[in-house]
């Protein structure tokens, strides 16, 4: 993970990819002002999901290719520590990407995206995504068709997260009451808790051998 910060290859890929997706959406959807407000949260999360898949794949594939995963497994640390390390690393990457994408996004789309509640939804959403994504990426890098396997495994499982995050973000943009929104934030917290707990319990079996 430290190595990743040195090369910055993954981070820059995720960043450029995210920005490209944001731009592509602009051309694909003919976004006028009304449409922009309605779909902004959706565009943001589709971007996050795809860039996240890219990042998750690379982060574990690189470990596998370099053989450092075996090294890490031999290290006298708890396997779950490995999971949390990987997950926090992936989460951090997603947050760094978001830190750049959010301001650019709000600039290009002329929307107030940098505000506390949206940041909270991004924080919680990416946490859950990194949590379940790290587990499934650890699975998929050990399969034959590994680059295409991760999205197939991850996207259907991440649907509730996507729904909750988009609704929370969209609700904030539409200036809804907290009583309307709290439900979505609760759901995000519940998803994060459940899936990180499950991933923590089963991660041992994924990296065995």
């Amino acid at each position: 993970m430290r190595a990743e910060f040195r090369t910055r290859e993954l981070l820059s890929t995720m960043l450029v990819f995210s920005l490209l997706v944001v731009l592509t959406f602009n051309f694909a959807l003919q976004l006028d002002r009304m449409a922009r407000e309605n779909v902004a949260a959706g565009v943001l999360w589709v971007t996050t999901i795809f860039a996240g898949t890219l990042g998750l794949n690379r982060s574990l594939a690189a470990e596998k290719d370099r053989g450092s995963l075996d090294g890490l497994l031999m290290a006298p640390v708890d396997r779950s520590a490995l999971y949390f390390g990987k997950m926090l690393g992936n989460w951090l990457f997603m947050l760094i990407v978001q830190a750049v994408v959010l301001p650019v996004f709000s600039l290009l789309y002329n929307l107030p995206l940098v505000q506390p509640l949206i940041l909270l939804s991004v924080l919680l959403g990416t946490l859950g995504y990194a949590g379940v994504g790290t587990l499934l990426a650890a699975l998929s890098v050990q399969t034959r068709a590994r680059d295409v396997m991760l999205p197939i495994l991850l996207l259907p499982v991440a649907v509730p997260l996507l729904v909750a995050a988009v609704q929370a973000g969209g609700g904030v943009l539409a200036r809804r009451e907290w009583s309307d929104l709290s439900l979505w934030f609760n759901l995000l917290v519940a998803y994060d808790t459940i899936f990180i707990a499950v991933a923590y319990m089963v991660f041992d079996y994924v990296v065995e051998e």
């Binding site: 699975l139 034959r144 499982v157 509730p160 729904v163 459940i194 079996y205």
Partner: protein, 233 residues
């Protein structure tokens, strides 16, 4: 896990008989529903296959947990077979539901929470099968499949919950009248009897398909062993 050939044959015959009786009950015994008419008869089949589809994935979940606990490949075979059979029932549910929805709701498809969740669930288990195909080592395949079977299953109720509150918060989307149409008729006594019989029959069909599927697996393994013996000799 596997039955002898004889028991399997008896089970096969029994299943066919039950299916025939079930069809007869649905078309001859069950009363005609007043508002929807004949098309409502698909309901007995639809609810039955939907129930079995869900139950099959519960079997996969339990088998996955048991495999991770015991490391016995038998559980893995059970889980995988249950996904294959379960997917069959899931597609039957979606198709029979569409056929019913066309006259009842005047559309083949609505983004109703139950429908959407069911479809996403089908996609999860298709992914499960693809994951299995991508791994050669049987032990690793079993472990990964068990893990994904657990993660996938847990996400299903959360998906349902998320989509349901999403739809209730946005009243504009509900307009299709799906909620009222769904609980839209009261069942009379004979209807309940036929429904229960149908569910039981389709459950037996599930058990029968599973038994045959596991038998097939066993035979395939025998073939592999024999091949290996011939090659080594």
């Amino acid at each position: 896990m596997s039955l002898s050939n004889r028991t399997l044959q008896i089970l096969n015959v029994l299943t066919v008989l039950l299916l025939v009786v079930n069809t007869a009950l649905i078309f001859l015994y069950a009363p005609l529903e007043r508002t929807m008419g004949e098309v409502q008869r698909i309901f007995y089949f639809h609810v039955g296959v939907a129930w079995v589809g869900m139950a099959a994935f519960v079997v996969t979940l339990v088998a996955g947990v048991l495999y991770l606990r015991t490391g016995n490949l038998r559980w893995d075979r059970l889980g995988a077979a249950s996904v294959e059979v379960g997917l069959l029932f899931t597609f039957l549910t979606i198709v029979s539901g569409s056929v019913w929805a066309r006259p009842a709701w005047n559309t083949w498809w609505t983004w109703d929470p139950r429908l959407t969740t069911y479809t996403i669930m089908a996609l999860i288990y298709i992914a499960y099968l693809m994951l299995r195909q991508g791994i050669d080592d049987p032990n690793r395949r079993a472990r990964f499949a068990a893990v994904y079977g657990i993660v996938g299953f847990i996400s299903v109720p959360i998906t349902f919950f998320a989509i349901r509150i999403w739809r209730t918060i946005h009243p504009a989307v509900i307009g299709t009248g799906s909620e009222t149409a769904q609980g839209g008729f009261d069942m009379t006594q004979p209807m309940v009897v036929v429904l229960l019989f149908s569910i039981a029959t389709l459950s037996v069909l599930y058990v029968c398909l599973m038994a045959n599927r596991l038998q097939l697996e066993k035979l395939a393994e025998r073939v592999e062993q024999l091949k290996a013996r011939i090659l080594s000799a």
